[in-house]
């Protein structure tokens, strides 16, 4: 048993969970929803075990470091954060239909990590600049933030679908929580995401200051995280001060998640330098 195998199984389990959530929602079978919850929970344990074992394996290889140092590991942690966050939301608010929109994202993150030919799952030794506890804090905070934005994105999609289907055949859409709740939950997730993105940018700045002596250098990755931060700050203000609700907030959260994805994957396509995290 090695970590790669456990993480591959986890990918499959997340996929199963997503499938069950969607089936439960479409076919109104509560029992499927309960299985979906069980699968998601099993996936989370597998995900944790996989990361933990990977950590131990890196020590056996003599290059021990926390499994948060490259694109593959960050995606695995991203998937874990989405799943845990979703389970917390389900536990607190009890709307299983949300799982049909959230768990597929956890599955996609894992599947992308495992299947993309551009992403190596080898355990690599750390380059000197990456040897910092701030790096660990940076990756954890950023990806919890991204996960919250991902869940907000799923909720916003639900909102838009629900909104466009009012009056139509009630059965499928009646399972989706009412608009007011979706809107509030989106807001909760955006706030959580904003807090963690803020913490992520800050820990990144502190890390940069300890490695290169400057906390901000306007390199494309830093700049894009700041752009994302501006977008969500705007969202918070229009909601709070201009009373935006519902549709417009949902669209905003979708655009915001686009910026998150660009910060994460797109920046490497830009002309420029930022090299770490791109392997």
């Amino acid at each position: 048993m090695n970590s790669s195998l456990i993480l591959s199984i986890t990918t499959f389990v997340y996929g199963l969970s997503a499938f069950l959530y969607i089936s439960s929602w479409i076919f109104h079978k509560d029992i499927l929803g309960r299985f979906a919850f069980g699968a998601a929970l099993a996936g989370v344990f597998g995900n944790l075990a996989g990361l933990g074992l990977r950590w131990a394996e890196s020590y056996q290889m003599g290059i021990g470091h926390a499994p948060l140092s490259n694109l593959y590991e960050s995606l695995v942690f991203f998937a874990l954060s989405i799943a845990v966050l979703y389970l917390a939301v389900e536990k607190k608010y009890g709307h299983r239909a949300i799982g049909a929109f959230a768990m597929p994202l956890a599955f996609l993150a894992m599947a992308y990590a495992s299947l993309s030919p551009n992403i190596s799952d080898r355990i690599q030794p750390l380059l000197p600049a990456l040897k910092s506890n701030w790096l660990i804090a940076h990756v954890i905070t950023c990806f919890i933030g991204y996960a919250a934005f991902a869940v907000a994105f799923g909720l916003s999609l639900m909102f838009l679908i629900k909104n466009s289907k009012t009056g139509a055949d009630g059965s499928l859409w009646s399972k989706i929580p009412e608009a007011r709740i979706l809107d509030e939950l989106t807001h909760q997730m955006v706030m959580l995401g904003f807090l963690f993105l803020t913490a992520g940018i800050i820990t990144g700045a502190v890390w940069a200051n300890s490695a290169w002596g400057r906390y901000w250098g306007w390199d494309p990755k830093e700049t894009w995280s700041l752009i994302t931060w501006f977008i969500y700050a705007t969202l918070l203000h229009v909601r709070l001060m201009r009373g935006w609700r519902g549709r417009r907030v949902a669209l905003f959260a979708i655009v915001g998640f686009g910026a998150v994805l660009f910060t994460y994957f797109g920046v490497n396509l830009l002309p420029g330098l930022h090299s770490y995290g791109s392997q």
Binding site: S210, G213, F230, T234, H237, R242
Partner: protein, 451 residues
Amino acid sequence: MTKKNLSEFPLWKFLASIRLTIALLLLLAATSIIGTLIPQGGSPGDYVRQYGETAYRLLYAFDLTDMYRSWWFRTLIVLLTANIVVCTLKRFPGVWKMVFPGKKEAPSVRPGRNAQEFSDSRNPEELRAMYETSIRRQFRRHWVETNENGFRIVAEKGRWTRLGVTVVHLSVVILLAGALIGSLSGFDGYVNIAEGDSIDRIRLRNSNGVIPLGFEVRCEDFDVSFYDSGAPKEYRSRLQITENGQIVVQKDIIVNDPLRYKGINFFQSSYGSLPPKDLVLSFTRRDSGDAVRQKVSIGGQTDIAGTDLRFYLREVQSSYRLRGSDVGETAIGVLESPGGDPVEVILPMRFPTYDRMRKGEWIVAVEEHEHAYYTGLQVTRDPGVPLVYAGFILLILGCCVSFFMAHWKIAVEVMQSPGGSAVKVYGTSNRNPVGFEHRIQKIAAGLGGQK
């Protein structure tokens, strides 16, 4: 000038508006994107090559090649700062009054959509003590109002959390103030120090200025280690700071662990090897095999002891082409022997026996070539950092408070009714109405109204 007058000035109104905030945040996001599409801080030549002459002139005219330092980008940031300050000044008195109302009466709470109602077979007098205990346990302050029909408990907590937003906004101002101080009185430079050498001045990165440090920095030793894969594992420089002839600090620095002295920080940032200053050569007589070793310095003529040879070591090139292929680092010199013409000798370090092929009377070979390394240090001074870090901490604390803590006011109304008591629980919260409704339901359930 009183406050009232102030708020009527158009400029004040402009700066206090939330529309301005939204416009500025979106403009900052949009313009920042431009700066990631056009590489920043390149040389004019790079841009002309990539975009052409005319486009470069345009980019240059709008400062797009160094836009984060341009006047217009800075104007956006100054406007945002002014916007935050004015907004905060305008709203602060209201927030302060809410946090410290200065009166002891109960705040007003009216029933809304979250009201929970249930009945209890006991009458109000029997419920009162029990309810009060339960509410007191959950809320910081409470008041009890009685009337002829029953009583009402009003309770409140989290008034202070309304300061959270103020803290968030001030933290942004503090952070930007720190950044300003850094850009006005800090510097960002670099210096290369060869092993064994000392420096007392450094070069600035963005201009060609030179800054004296006021003390000396010596690099005693530099080491780089590699993983088996060939990837670098650690760069380590042993530095020593000398002031007025006294050694004051000594430290090994690695990436992520700089040396700090008098507000100036030295970061490990690069390294390189210096061409050797001298080599140890061997001179071997072809017929007898007798050999002599001798140190020769680059650029100098050396009489080789015990022979009648003279050797002029002209240079060491870091790469050298021999018959079309690169043989790497190579020493080139001239060998003079009495009675013979001077001959050029080529000594590729990688092929120590190469000179045999010259078929000369003497065979020259490089025996030792020790490279000195130099360490590349990033040298910075930024007196704004403490302020920036204070801003960071306040920003996170402020966000935690304003996102996840709330100011709650609730009321529990108990009225005499034919079957005992009619109980109604309701309240207001300044955020998360859905979560608060759950909370009200919980409180009601706790008082005996099963949901």
